[in-house]
């Protein structure tokens, strides 16, 4: 029956491409026993990589959220000249290769770049240090809040906001009491996507990190480094941690979707 055939195809495709490979990673992570896997991800370097990843996300996500809401408001409500261009630029990080992102940041902040020498002369280390990695992460996770909030803003229209204004509310009150509650699911979803992207960034951060063990190595870089040092258990175990974080963000997505429809 056609239905069964479609189901078999769909499930088979997903299994072959997604489920089985992931299952294998889990298997390999625990191949030498759960103790080994646990040890591999609790070494000082591994723990530092974990916390560094979280720290970077903790800076990048709020920044992009604030920007995202402001930008969405500006683009939809203000309709200023050039808003279409802004919309386009916001989407750019979605399509850009992380290597290109890393190179571009390099050309600005490294010695020999536009601001590189000035920064270094003033004792500010941007590239090969936390700020550079934060900038790279902000770049690649920039679009999500904007993209999720813009359609919601468009859909709800601004009649309520206008009504509030005629009733004498200040723009801050209007935003806080009317707009924000209306867009909260868009914002929430955008935050989840931004977080997922920020936690998982590899390419751009690899170029700007300097790979200082225990200092500028994120968890994704840690996976790469373990793999290169023949420590497969370490690589798979750390990958598992990242996969679990991805699944946690997925669970958050589902919760947000559920909340949206209640």
């Amino acid at each position: 029956m056609g239905r069964l055939a479609l189901r078999v195809f769909a499930l088979g495709y997903l299994a072959a491409l997604l489920l089985i490979p992931l299952g294998l990673v889990v298997f390999r992570a625990f191949e030498e026993g759960p103790g080994e896997a646990w040890e591999a991800v609790t070494t000082p370097d591994a723990l530092h990589a974990f916390w560094l990843t979280i720290l970077i996300a903790a800076i990048a996500v709020p920044a992009n959220t604030v920007f995202g809401v402001l930008c969405a408001l500006a683009v939809v409500r203000r309709r200023f000249r050039g808003h279409g261009l802004v919309n386009g630029i916001v989407d750019l990080p979605l399509a850009l290769s992380p290597v290109v992102v890393g190179l571009a940041l390099f050309l600005v902040y490294a010695r020999g770049g536009w601001f590189g020498q000035t920064l270094l002369d003033n004792g500010m280390q941007v590239i090969f240090a936390l700020p550079g990695m934060v900038l790279a992460t902000i770049f690649v996770s920039l679009p999500f809040v904007v993209r999720e909030v813009v359609p919601v803003l468009r859909e709800i229209g601004d009649e309520q906001e206008q009504a509030a204004a005629t009733l004498g509310a200040s723009s801050w009150q209007t935003f806080w009491r009317i707009t924000l509650p209306a867009i909260r699911w868009g914002v929430a979803y955008g935050v989840v996507l931004t977080t997922a992207r920020a936690l998982g960034e590899f390419g751009a951060v690899a170029v700007v990190s300097g790979r200082i063990a225990g200092k500028t190595e994120t968890l994704t870089l840690f996976v790469n480094e373990r793999f290169e040092r023949f420590d497969l258990v370490g690589a798979y175990a750390a990958s598992l941690v990242l996969a679990l974080m991805a699944i946690a963000t997925l669970a958050a997505t589902t919760l947000v979707r559920k909340g949206e429809h209640t």
Binding site: G116, L120, Q125, I127, R211, E228
Partner: protein, 335 residues
């Protein structure tokens, strides 16, 4: 509306400025000052060595109380990083040109190589890594250009270390009596047999260990490290091969403590660690002749004209011999 937003943005800005200032203040105290922290930027292979050397150094008088920050990566990558602003006190790369680049950038003194060891800290040779038991009976360079032999090497344009491989192959041909044209022809035939060129030496080792290829051009110390990690490979030291020499240097930012560390790396105690981990020591008396056989025709990069000359002749991106060969090998008509 503006207030909270401004507060958040201000906090963010303060965060970023604070971390960027804090990051460098602990390592910059002017050239020549006493340091309690040293930053080492090295290529990836000797990581296990330095991880042992550092505690040993910290147990000495000069090393007491010194903390270390270590960064490892591809030799060229690391050199570029230091050039671009990675603050370092000691650099340890795979080949001298990566240090010379820093001299050009004004980050390393131009007399870095004028000590009794010519600026080097470890040695190795290029070997031919094969499957356990050598099923294809590889004995030397000439076997690599046989029909059907699949050779793995890193890409010499992205891996400085892979340039050792190329020069070993070329020099070996010359040592066998071939003219320089014939030796270039050998390189051409060799690269026609190369199926994968990974971006770094470590990557190419992984590729080979993953089952791809019949022979891997590798450094002896890489092969020994792999064996020590339980990987299934053997290696052949060909009769003619090049002496790999790895440099170490203090940057202009580094002070007396950095120099002390570099000196320490050359002491007998430290060199023993290198020897244990598969390197040929720069101290000849520490080179165990059984474990590290001396090839019949060992030559150095100096014998081939020295790195500056070789870089131009072979590795110039446009006109270098290897650039030509790469283009030819990759020609779409080839299959």
């Amino acid at each position: 509306m503006p207030r909270i937003v401004l507060v958040v943005l201000a906090a963010l800005a303060v965060c970023i400025v604070a971390t960027s200032c804090g990051g460098s203040s602990s390592s910059s105290s002017g050239a020549g000052g006493e340091k309690s922290k040293l930053t080492l930027a090295a290529y990836s292979t000797p990581r296990e060595v330095y991880e042992e050397l550092i505690p040993k150094f910290q147990a000495t008088d000069e090393g007491k109380g010194v903390t270390f920050e270590q960064s490892y990566g591809g030799s060229g990558e690391q050199s570029r990083a230091v050039e671009a602003g990675l603050e370092t006190d000691v650099v340890a790369f795979s080949l001298a040109p990566d240090v010379d680049k820093l001299v050009d950038a004004g980050l390393v003194a131009n007399d870095w190589a004028s000590d009794e060891f010519d600026g080097m800290v470890s040695r190795s040779v290029v070997v031919l890594a094969v499957r356990k038991g050598n099923p294809d009976h590889i004995r030397g360079w000439e076997d690599l250009v046989r029909d059907g032999v699949d050779v793995i090497t890193a890409n010499p344009f992205t891996s400085g270390g892979a340039r050792w491989n190329v020069m070993a192959a070329y020099g070996a041909a010359e040592k066998r009596g071939e003219s320089s044209e014939e030796s270039v022809e050998y390189l051409r035939r060799l690269f026609h047999n190369v199926s994968v060129q990974d971006k770094s030496a470590r990557d190419s080792l992984q590729t080979f260990l993953g089952g791809k290829g019949d022979v891997l051009l590798a450094y002896e110390n890489e092969a020994l490290t792999a064996q020590a990690n339980g990987e299934d490979l053997d290696y052949v030291v060909p009769d003619e091969t090049i002496l790999i020499e790895n440099p170490i240097a203090v940057t202009n930012d580094g002070g007396p403590t950095a120099q002390a560390f570099v000196d320490f790396a050359r002491t007998t105690a430290a060199q023993r660690v290198f020897a244990e981990k598969g390197y040929r020591s720069i101290r000849p008396d520490l080179v165990d002749a059984e474990r590290y056989p001396t090839p019949q025709s060992l030559f150095t990069i100096g014998d081939l004209g020295g790195w500056p000359d070789v870089q131009e002749r072979f590795f110039d991106r446009e006109s270098g011999i290897m650039a030509d060969i790469q283009r030819e090998v990759g020609a779409p008509l080839d299959d």
